[in-house]
Structure formats: C-alpha cells, structure tokens
C-alpha cells in the first residue's frame, strides 16, 4: 500500500477531475493531450531515465501506431482492434530488429542514430503518399468501441486515455522496484559492472527499447482514433525532442518526474498563447533556464529538497534529544 500511495492519490485526482469539471476546456480538451503526453513521457523515461539510453526518435513509434490504425482501418477496412494489433506487430518487429545495433551505440552516437530513425520514419509519412496520404495525412478514422459501446465524446476519451496512462505509470513504477528495473539502473550506472553481475546488457537494453516503443505505439493508435485523423506533423523530430524535454524537465529516472514534465510542457503552450509571437522565444528561454539551474529536473529537485529538509530535521531532533 505504502509503495503505491502516490499512485493511488494520482489516480484519484486524474479520475475525479472530469467528474467535477465535465465541461471544462482544460480538462476535456487540453486534458487529453496531457494524458497522452504523460503516457509517452513515462514510456520514454523507461529507456532514458531508467536505462540511461537517450532517444531522440520516440515520436516515430507513436506515429507508427497512429498510422497503422489509420491505414489498416481506412485503406484495408480492418476492425480498429485488429489494426491496433497489426500496429503493435509492426512496431515490435521494427524496434526489436533495430534495438541491438542502435543500442550498441553510446552517448552522442546513440542520440544521432535515434534522431536519424525518427527523421526517416517522419519522411516516410510525408513522402509515401499512396500509403500514408502524404503531407495531408489520412482522415475519417472510425471511432473505437469497447464491448459495443462507442467512445464518441471527449469525456469518454478522457477516461480511456486516463486508464491507459495510469496503467503505463503503474507498470513503470512496478519495473522500478524489481529485478528488471535494477538491471536497467545498473546498465545506467556502469555497464561493465552490470555485465560482471551477470546482466546481459545488450538484451536488457533491447527489451526496454521494445517495451517503451510498444507503449508509444498503443498511445499512437488511441490518439489517431480520438482525433479521427493523422498527419505527419504530429510525429516530427520536434515532437521527439519535446518528449525528451518532458522527461528531463521533470527529472530523469523518476516516473512521477516524467508525469510532471509532461504536464508542464503540455499546458505551457496553452498558457503562452497570450504572448502570441513571443511564444517560441519564451518557450526556449524557460527550457534553458530550468535546465541550467535545475539539471536534475523540477520534480526530482523538489523531492530532494524535501528529503534534505526532513534529514536536517531528524538531525536536529537527535541533537536536541542528546543535549
């Protein structure tokens, strides 16, 4: 119970918000973006935060999920669930095949390779117009139904996205406290020592790469059905960077850090709209400032600060008790 206390509180807030404010723009419209971004950031954090492997191409898997749903339902007339399954199959094969050669690379070379992967997939979305509809994308996706109940309002979508996001967060928290999670942290800490403890580092990295790609893929499918529409713009290099920023902004390696980072970065543009042309400039400035002064990320910095204060308090109590 204690282990997941934060998770229960978070779930409660997430699920109660739309009941309290069913017609609020920030809950049912911006909220959907927030929820999907949290899922993506949490999945990316598995790879970047836990295993320490940077990826500048995560949007590619998100996009492949979305486009698979669009293509298999509209062009080939499959049922949406079958389409989601095909998407997962494609992303599984692609990420599995690429994972070993890509994750053999380190540091900036890894950044380059994942960046390249993301850009190649994006160019494919733009250029392969017979399949992907080119720059205009594909519209008219059918809505998703669960046990015959169509998900046809923003509020219903909110709950679908929320449940998916909460499952992602739960899986991520579970992994952190487990043999698999420790193996990932070990790879992050020292790859050589990890190997000497019997960890097949190549395999561990490959598994988490595939796992996080699959989560992004499902997120993509859900996103496509909710929007009824896919276009390359949503899956560009810039979005990959945004996802990395979310993870780092909250605090690399912390699931709730990724949640906080995704939340901030998703609502920030909404808040900056009032600045009109200054929006881009201010966005860049905020990003730089936070990273310069809080390199551990907002959430982690605050968490550490609280832990530090608690530590000092306990020290003081010990001192008082002994004097």
């Amino acid at each position: 119970m204690k282990r997941l206390l934060g998770f229960y509180i978070f779930s409660f807030i997430t699920l109660v918000l739309p009941i309290l404010f069913p017609d609020n723009y920030y809950v049912t419209v911006v909220g959907l973006t927030v929820l999907i971004n949290i899922s993506l950031a949490v999945s990316l954090n598995l790879l970047m935060g836990y295993a320490g492997q940077i990826s500048l191409g995560h949007a590619a898997f998100f996009g492949l999920g979305a486009y698979s749903s669009a293509i298999f339902t509209i062009k080939y007339g499959f049922n949406p669930w079958t389409a989601i399954f095909f998407g997962l199959l494609i992303v599984f094969l692609l990420s599995y095949i690429l994972s070993r050669p890509i994750l053999k690379l380190k540091g900036h070379y890894l950044a380059m390779a994942t960046l390249g992967l993301g850009i190649i997939v994006h160019i494919f979305f733009v250029q392969a117009d017979e399949i992907t509809g080119g720059p205009d994308g594909i519209s008219g996706l059918p809505t998703l139904s669960i046990f015959g109940f169509p998900i046809d309002t923003d509020l219903k979508w909110y709950f679908i996205f929320a449940i998916f996001m909460l499952i992602t967060v739960l899986l991520s928290l579970n992994i952190a406290d487990s043999r698999a999670g420790r193996a990932l942290s070990a790879v992050h800490g020292s790859e050589i020592a990890a190997q000497m403890m019997g960890i097949d580092t190549a395999k561990v990295k490959s598994h988490i790469f595939v796992f996080s790609a699959l989560i992004a893929c499902i997120a993509g499918s859900l996103f496509a059905h909710q929007q009824n529409f896919v276009s390359p713009e949503s899956f560009s290099f810039f979005f990959s960077i945004e996802l990395v920023t979310m993870v780092v902004l909250g605090g690399l390696g912390s699931t709730f850090g990724a949640v906080v980072g995704a939340f901030i970065l998703s609502i920030l543009p909404e808040l900056l709209i009032v600045f009109e042309d200054f929006e881009v400039l201010i966005f860049g400035a905020i990003l730089m400032t936070i990273m310069i002064f809080l390199p551990d990320g907002l959430f982690v910095a605050i968490k550490n600060k609280i832990a530090f204060l608690a530590f000092k308090r306990s020290q003081k109590e010990v001192a008082n008790a002994t004097s």
Binding site: N174, R179, A180, R182, S185, S190, A194, M196
Partner: protein
Amino acid sequence: MPLLEVKGLEKSFGGLKAITDLSFSVPEGQIFSIIGPNGAGKTTLFNLLTNIYKPTKGSIFFNKKDITKLPPFKIAALGISRTFQNLQVFMNMNVVENVMVGCHLRSKSGLFASAFRLPSVIAEEKRVRDMALEALEFCGLKDYSSQPASALPYGILKKLEIARALASKPRLLLMDEPAAGLNDTETMELCRLIEAIRDSGITVLLVEHNMGLVMEISQTVLVLNYGRLLAKGSPRDIQKNPEVIAAYLGEG
C-alpha cells in the same frame, strides 16, 4: 585440478604489449595474489580474465571450461565475480539495491513479470533483499543498507563492491587493489574480510600493492613485470627471490 588456468595469454594495445606469454594456474581454495609495479599489466589481466578486453592470443580455462571467448555476463554466470580498481559502484542506487543487483544471477523475474508484478515477483523480491542483507552483514555494511551510494565515503564504497560481488555467490573472486586508499584500521578489517571470504570456500585472486597484507594472507604470490611473469611461489620464496627484489621490492 586448478580452478583457473591461463595459457600463453597475450594482449597488446596498438604497439604496446601489456601482457606477454603469460601462463599460470590458480588452485581452488587459495588466496592467490598478483603483484607488480604500476603498469605491469595486473588490471589488464583481470580485464582479460573477465573478457572485458579480448585477448590477442592465448586461452583461459575456468573449471576446465574454455571461457576465452565468452562474454562477461556468461563468465559471471559460471562463477567469476570481481571488484574494480576504479570504483564501478552504481551511484544511482542505494546500498542494498547495489547488492541486490549482485543477486541478479540467483533470481529470474524478467521485464514482463516485473512490470505486472506477478506474485512470483513479490516473493522473489523479498528473497533477494534477504540475500543482499546477508552479504552486507558479512561485509559489515548492514547499517548503511538504505543510504544512497553517492553519499558514502570511499572506504565504504570499496567494501560495497565486495559485498555486491559476493552476493552473486562466485567460486572465484577477483579483487583489484581493494586496500588502495584505505587507512590502517580499514586495511586490517579488509585483511580479515578477505580471509573470511576464502574460508567460506571462495577462491580469491588478489591484486594489491600493500605488501604487508599480501604476504600475510596469500598462499601463492605471482609477480608481473612489464606484462611478463617474473616469479611465482609462496610469499616466503618471493620475498627472498633476488630477481623480484631487484625489479620491484628493491624500488620501494
């Protein structure tokens, strides 16, 4: 029947030969020390034994099995573990988690089971934690178990590496300069710890500059000089060997 056997081992880095035609064998149950001046190739030898470096020539047998070409994690699975001269503690974890990583080979839940926290995982977590605490206790680190590794002093981290290596229940433990940077009390404790490790049935291969410690606890001492075997024998023989005195002991 030796536990570890090295035959005609060679390693060169570009033009530099760090290990040249080295052959020796380590009997089970000993504290077997390797000494030699800085740059003699001791760490390189450890890296070759664990296949972190690929040998240029030669072969290595552990428990009669050829391990020359096995990747490090498979060598670990056969029962070789080690500590590092340049600490390789997982600074992103706390003490007990570091040692729990050492239990990796003695547990088995994979990513999927862990993510869904199947009942088997919950049971295993508890078992692994107990194993780790046992190793910490053995090394006298139990009080530190919930501290973050990054907050600990050097001497504790050195012991932590030993505890982590022991947690994998190896048959052979390689220790690279465990006493470096320790004060006298800590060195004494280390001395007892290494003997306790040997007495628990683990063969110890020790690289160390502290001659007092080496001569006190080793059964066999091997002297490396410029990557070649200079002498091998009991501590007593080595201390008397004129070549060793000239090349190494004489200096200091």
